[in-house]
Amino acid sequence: MTRADRVVVILAVALLPFLYMTYWGPSQQGDALRVMVNGKETMTVSLHADKHITVHGSLGDSVIDVDQGKARFISSPCRGKQCVHTGWLGQGGEFAACLPNRVSIAVIAEEQRYDSIVF
């Protein structure tokens, strides 16, 4: 082992933690969706598995679509359909709510891009 060898090996090994910190570190893309009914958390689902979720609220069932790392309300028993109009949520911190049905969904990422969203 020459001295140069040692330096290379040490630097290479030292590089690794930085890679983990950078690329395994907090991701901003949402990882999970927190579903709440009546202000209480009922479930948290991964955003990485496409699916439909039916949530029972006080007016009826809201259906949430999880697709390609994003989520949205597809249907809800409310009249205004504000929740549906909110559209796709993908970044940590984003959320939509069907207030009449008391159902809300929020995207959680390990580190939120935004601490809060004014809407």
Partner: protein
């Protein structure tokens, strides 16, 4: 009909011999299962490093390139995405080895070269994959693991090369 003659030199023989070894290793390795696709121990790299140290950079470069080209033809992956990635990796490591061979003084030994080559190889493959095939930010999630494997296998290959070279300076090809 006249026969075609090529004037082959000693160096050509040497390269052919080494390349054959490397290709064999390459093919054997490609048959091994890998937990993460695209991550191979890079055993063929051992030959490249030995070639580099014994016979110089240009021999090593040829051996590496031939390994990728011929290896992929034999495996049947010529011009496939796998081939393109291997080629990118090979070119990157050749380039880095060239730069490394200019280091003055005692320079690098087999382990140093091997680690450098492995890192360059993995980086070349990764970025080519990112640019050409999977331009998703999510791909970077794999980078730390891939580089860890590269470092580990780089050290192991280098050590093996060291062992082989350490048994005197018996020429591997004539």
């Amino acid at each position: 009909m006249t026969a075609l003659y090529f004037n082959t030199t000693r160096e050509d023989h040497r390269i052919a011999w080494l390349a054959a070894l490397a290709i064999t290793l390459h093919i054997v390795e490609s048959a091994l299962p890998s937990p993460i696709p695209g991550v191979k121990p890079g055993l063929a790299n051992i030959i490249t490093i030995i070639a580099l140290i014994q016979f110089g950079w240009s021999t090593a470069a040829w051996v590496n390139l031939l390994r990728v080209l011929v290896g992929s033809v034999l495996i049947g992956s010529f011009l496939s995405p796998t081939f393109i990635l291997s080629l990118a990796g090979a070119l990157s490591s050749i380039l880095v080895l060239r730069l490394a061979s200019w280091l003055p003084g005692r320079g690098f030994g087999p382990i140093g070269y091997s680690v450098l080559a492995a890192l360059a190889h993995m980086a070349g493959q990764f970025y080519t994959a990112y640019l050409l095939f999977i331009p998703h930010a999510a791909l970077f999630h794999l980078l730390p693991v891939l580089m860890t494997a590269a470092v580990i296998f780089g050290i192991i290959s280098g050590y093996i090369a060291h062992l082989i070279l350490g048994y005197g300076s018996r020429p591997l090809a004539h």
